[in-house]
Every structure is written in structure tokens, then in C-alpha cells.
């Protein structure tokens, strides 16, 4: 009897788990599959296969211009977020001072404040100082602030594993503080920096919430532009663009998996 319960219980868990795992990949698979449709409307499964919507995507001006906007924003904001993340991680990992808790709270606060609030609050400021048309700058600022907690966490956890006595030994042997940092600490935290940078880049490249508030007319990101095309364009070009975004994200995902492992995501 117990054996029966055990086996049917396990079978039930397996069936439910498989159902929900399929649920998790379903929209991704459907997007990829329907982008290869030969028909002029979206349906799944497609009646026939073709790459015409990819050609259409590559020929669309809006795809290229917003793609480059997104790349520039992601590269610049990731670079600044990594620099801020390293500095903040160093402060938190090596120093004890009055107000350290407040410092940690401040730097991690973008994880606490809802994205719409960050986006709308920054929009308010840009209107006040009349920079609301500098879309690219506003987007870079917004993306930098919300991705810094990711780079901080990632670098911080790799610093926690490095031994401070190595640095002290280098300094007692005559290294300056800077060269001790570059020669001893930096190589040890490279995995943390790489992981943090990839997470920040992926977040920025795919973000909708912050970007929806800060995108100006001439500076829209690919996801925001894609959003309006999903609403208004009836042809499957957005499916091809979405699929390309999935492939880019997959490339970064595999990069993390091969280099530092998926633990960085599970460590939330």
C-alpha cells in the first residue's frame, strides 16, 4: 500500500512538473516557430515555412535604429554599473564604518523600488531640468541605476571568496594600493565582474518598464519599439525580431552557464 502511494505520488509530481516546465518554455518555442511562418498572419502551428519575415526585419529601418540604441545604452550603462558595482562591493567587503547599513540599503534600493516608480520619478526630474528630450542620456542613467545592484551582488560575492591577507602581503612587499588591487584582487574577482556585466547587459537590453517611461521620440529602445509594433503591425515581422532577441539572450545565457555557472541566478 505504501509502495502504491509512493509510486503514484511520484508519478503525479512528475506529470505536474513536466506540464509546468512545458508551460515555461511554451511562449518562447511558439515565438520561434511562428517567426518562420510563410503566411502573412500569425498562427501556430504555421501553415508553411519561410524566412521572409527575417528578411523583412533586416530591411526595416526601425529595427536597426532601435537595435543600435539598445546596444549603446546597454554597453554604456553596463560599463558604469560595473564600475559603481566594484566600488560599492569594495566598500561593503572591506570597510566597517558608521552608516554602512544605510550605504548598502541605498545601493540595493533599486531592487526594492518598483520599476515604474524609478522610471516615472526619473522622468519627473528630466522634465524639471528640461532634459526630457535627451532620451539616450536618460535611458543610460535609468538603466545604470537599476543594474548596479546586480553587478554589486555578483562582484561582492566573488570578493568574499578572496583573501585579504594576499593584498596585505603584496603591500608589505612594497606594492602600492592600486597595484595591489590590480595585480591581486582584480584577477580574483574577474568571474564576478563578467557574470555581473552579463546580467546587467541582458537586463538593460531586454528592459521594458524603465524604458517605456524614459524613451523619447528619437531615442527608443528595441523592446519599446517592438511593443508598439506588436500592437499596430499585423504582419509577423515582430515575431522575427522577438526571435532574434531570444537568440541574443540565449547566447549570453550560455556564456554565463559556461563561464561562471547558473548559480549566479539562483543566488537571488
Amino acid at each position: 500500500m505504501a509502495d502504491f502511494f509512493l509510486r503514484s505520488g511520484r508519478g503525479l509530481v512528475t506529470v505536474m512538473a513536466l506540464f509546468w516546465l512545458v508551460f515555461l518554455v511554451a511562449p518562447i518555442v511558439v515565438t520561434l516557430a511562428s517567426s518562420f511562418t510563410s503566411s502573412t498572419y500569425l498562427t501556430f502551428p504555421p501553415p508553411g515555412w519561410s524566412v521572409r519575415w527575417y528578411l523583412s526585419a533586416f530591411e526595416s529601418e526601425w529595427v536597426w535604429s532601435t537595435f543600435w540604441n539598445s546596444v549603446v545604452i546597454a554597453v554604456v550603462s553596463t560599463t558604469i554599473a560595473v564600475a559603481l558595482g566594484i566600488a560599492a562591493a569594495r566598500v561593503l567587503a572591506r570597510h566597517r564604518f558608521y552608516g554602512r547599513g544605510a550605504f548598502e540599503y541605498a545601493v540595493l534600493s533599486p531592487l526594492i523600488i518598483p520599476g515604474v516608480v524609478v522610471g516615472f520619478a526619473l522622468l519627473n526630474v528630466s522634465v524639471l531640468i528640461e532634459t526630457q528630450d535627451a532620451g539616450l542620456l536618460n535611458l543610460i542613467i535609468g538603466h545604470t541605476m537599476v543594474t548596479t545592484p546586480f553587478t554589486l551582488r555578483s562582484v561582492w560575492s566573488s570578493m568574499a571568496g578572496s583573501d585579504i591577507s594576499l593584498e596585505e602581503a603584496a603591500q608589505s612587499l612594497g606594492a602600492t594600493r592600486w597595484s595591489a588591487f590590480w595585480l591581486i584582487v582584480f584577477p580574483l574577482i574577474v568571474p564576478g565582474i563578467v557574470a555581473g556585466a552579463i546580467i546587467a547587459f541582458t537586463f538593460s537590453f531586454n528592459d521594458v518598464t524603465i524604458s517605456a517611461f524614459l524613451s523619447a521620440r528619437e531615442a527608443r529602445t528595441l523592446p519599446v519599439e517592438l511593443m508598439s509594433h506588436i500592437e499596430y503591425l499585423p504582419d509577423p515581422t515582430p515575431a522575427a525580431v522577438s526571435s532574434l532577441m531570444i537568440v541574443i539572450t540565449l547566447a549570453f545565457f550560455l556564456l554565463v552557464e559556461r563561464t561562471v555557472g547558473l548559480g549566479v541566478f539562483a543566488d537571488r
Binding site: 505520488g9 503525479l12 512538473a17 509546468w20 508551460f23 515555461l24 511554451a26 511562449p27 518562447i28 511558439v30 515565438t31 511562428s34 501556430f44 566600488a87 560599492a88 566598500v91 561593503l92 567587503a93 572591506r94 566597517r96 564604518f97 558608521y98 550605504f103 545601493v107 534600493s109 526594492i112 523600488i113 518598483p114 515604474v116 516608480v117 524609478v118 516615472f120 520619478a121 526619473l122 519627473n124 526630474v125 524639471l128 542613467i141 535609468g142 548596479t148 570578493m159 568574499a160 578572496s162 585579504i164 541582458t202 537590453f205 521594458v208 517605456a212 506588436i230 515582430p238 515575431a239 522577438s242 531570444i246 539572450t249 549570453f252 545565457f253 547558473l262 541566478f265 539562483a266 537571488r268
Partner: protein, 287 residues
């Protein structure tokens, strides 16, 4: 997360490192939020004095605001329950798998939450549309005669948010499931406990901290999600976040938008406080 040993600087404020970071966050996070507070509490009437709470409270007095709040809470509760009921078997299954499969299944869980919300919403629009796979499946099963509306309404939001947030629940549960000593289960079984009672009396209590963390995380993220409900909810089912967007960009009433922002800000801080309290309690009692 553990910090390294702190030595050397003996309590001095590390000004050269900390100042640029603090400055960035003061200017681009703290100051904008304070501005939002000022804006949301601006007096409505000419003669009113500054901290005027009528707008913030007024958000919930108006019919639209009241409905949006109710809808936000209702959807968040439903999504949390589904994530809990669905995430638990998935986490159990993954924890049971061998290392090779576990890696692959973890990838299946983690990958979707890196994908842009627009892309995922797009996938769901295709799947849940009138001629989509979901409607075809329901008709084939004989549950319905003709296609039912599954997107541009609350159902669409619930499906999309469940997809968005289930990974958080699964990862929270896996974190505690993997720490359970298998000998505990073996010991209980050898003492005559049935698999059912092993599950209810050993597995469930030991995963309670993960369950609580996952539940809080999913509920709070559901309350403040924007892109998914915006894309899958259509125009007629506003929740708090999409109502804020409407006030800001359709009605251009920024004072009301700021008032909703204040409410969302308070919710965000509230959830983190509760989460910290619960997780510190959880650690102590379940170590």
C-alpha cells in the same frame, strides 16, 4: 551573501570609494523619489498646505482607482497561489533528478526570466489568441464550443504573470529542498512512516522558509509588475502600475500618477521589511 573580513580601515568612512557611488544614488534614485513624494502630496486646492494627502487617498476613492487596487490584489493573490501549487512539484522534481538533468531543467527554469517581457507577452498573445493553441486545445478537449477570450483581459495578465514569476518560486523552494538531509527521510521511512506522512511532516515543514520567501517574493513582484500586465491586459483592465502609466501619458495628470507612485513605493518598502523579518525568523527556527 557574506562579506569578507573587514580590517585595516578601522571604522573610517572610505570616502574616495564610497562618495561617487553615494552621489550617483543620491542624485538619480533618492532625489527623484523625494520629488515624487513632493509632487504627489502637492495641495489640490489653491489654498491648501503642502502635505496634502487627499490625492494619495483619493486614488482609492475614485472608481477607477478602487477597481485597479482590487484588481491588482486579486490578480497578485491568484498568481501567487498558482505559482505555489505549480512551483512545488517542479522544485520537488528537479531536486530529485540526477545532476545532468538537474542542470538542464534549471536552465529551462532560469532562461525564460531573462527573456524580455515584450517577447514573452508576444508568445502568449499568439498562444492565447482566438485561433491560438490554447483555444484549439480546449475545444479539442470538449471543454468549450467556441473560442473564448484569453488575452487583453485578466486571464491574460494572470497567465503572463504566472510565467514571469514562477521561476522565483521554484528557485526559492530549490534552495531549501537541496539542503534537506536525505537521511531524515530514510530514518522516518525505516521507522514506519508512510510516504504521505514523510511529505507532510518532514518535507513541508523543512521547506517552509523557502515557501514563505517564494510567496512573498512572487506576491510583491506581482503587485508591482508593469510590462506584462500592460501588454496582456489590454486597455480596459488597469492595475496600479498600468494606471500610473495611463495617468502619466494619456491623461497627463502627473499629480495623480505621482500619488500612485507613492502607494507603490510604500508597498515595495513594506514587502522588503516583512521579507527581512520573516527570513530572519525563518533562519532561526529552521536553521
Amino acid at each position: 551573501m557574506t562579506a569578507g573580513r573587514a580590517r585595516g580601515s578601522g571604522g573610517r568612512f572610505p570616502a574616495s570609494l564610497a562618495t561617487p557611488v553615494l552621489l550617483a544614488f543620491a542624485v538619480f534614485i533618492v532625489a527623484p523619489c523625494i520629488m515624487l513624494l513632493v509632487k504627489g502630496l502637492e495641495p489640490t486646492a489653491e489654498t491648501g498646505e503642502w502635505p496634502d494627502f487627499t490625492n494619495v487617498l483619493g486614488v482609492f476613492d475614485s472608481k477607477v482607482g478602487q477597481q485597479a487596487l482590487n484588481r491588482t490584489i486579486r490578480i497578485s493573490l491568484i498568481v501567487t497561489v498558482i505559482c505555489l501549487l505549480a512551483g512545488y512539484p517542479v522544485a520537488l522534481f528537479i531536486a530529485r533528478c540526477g545532476p545532468r538533468w538537474r542542470g538542464l531543467l534549471l536552465a529551462v527554469v532560469i532562461f525564460p526570466f531573462l527573456i524580455s517581457a515584450v517577447v514573452r507577452a508576444f508568445g502568449w498573445t499568439v498562444l492565447l489568441g482566438d485561433s491560438g493553441l490554447a483555444n484549439k486545445g480546449l475545444i479539442a478537449l470538449g471543454l468549450i464550443d467556441r473560442p473564448i477570450t484569453l488575452v487583453q483581459n485578466e486571464i491574460g495578465i494572470i497567465v503572463g504573470e504566472t510565467h514571469l514569476l514562477m521561476p522565483y518560486m521554484i528557485l526559492s523552494l530549490l534552495a531549501v529542498l537541496q539542503r534537506i538531509d536525505p537521511n531524515l527521510k530514510h530514518a522516518a521511512e525505516s521507522l514506519g512512516a508512510s510516504p504521505v506522512s514523510v511529505f507532510w511532516r518532514i518535507v513541508i515543514p523543512l521547506t517552509l522558509p523557502g515557501l514563505l520567501t517564494g510567496t512573498l517574493l512572487v506576491f510583491s513582484l506581482a503587485m508591482t509588475a508593469f510590462a506584462t500586465p500592460f501588454l496582456l491586459g489590454g486597455g480596459r483592465t488597469p492595475i496600479l502600475t498600468t494606471l500610473l502609466y495611463d495617468y502619466a501619458f494619456t491623461l497627463f495628470d502627473w499629480r495623480l500618477a505621482a500619488s500612485i507612485g507613492i502607494v507603490l513605493l510604500i508597498l515595495g518598502i513594506l514587502f522588503v521589511t516583512v521579507h527581512r523579518f520573516v527570513s530572519s525568523r525563518g533562519m532561526r527556527s529552521y536553521g
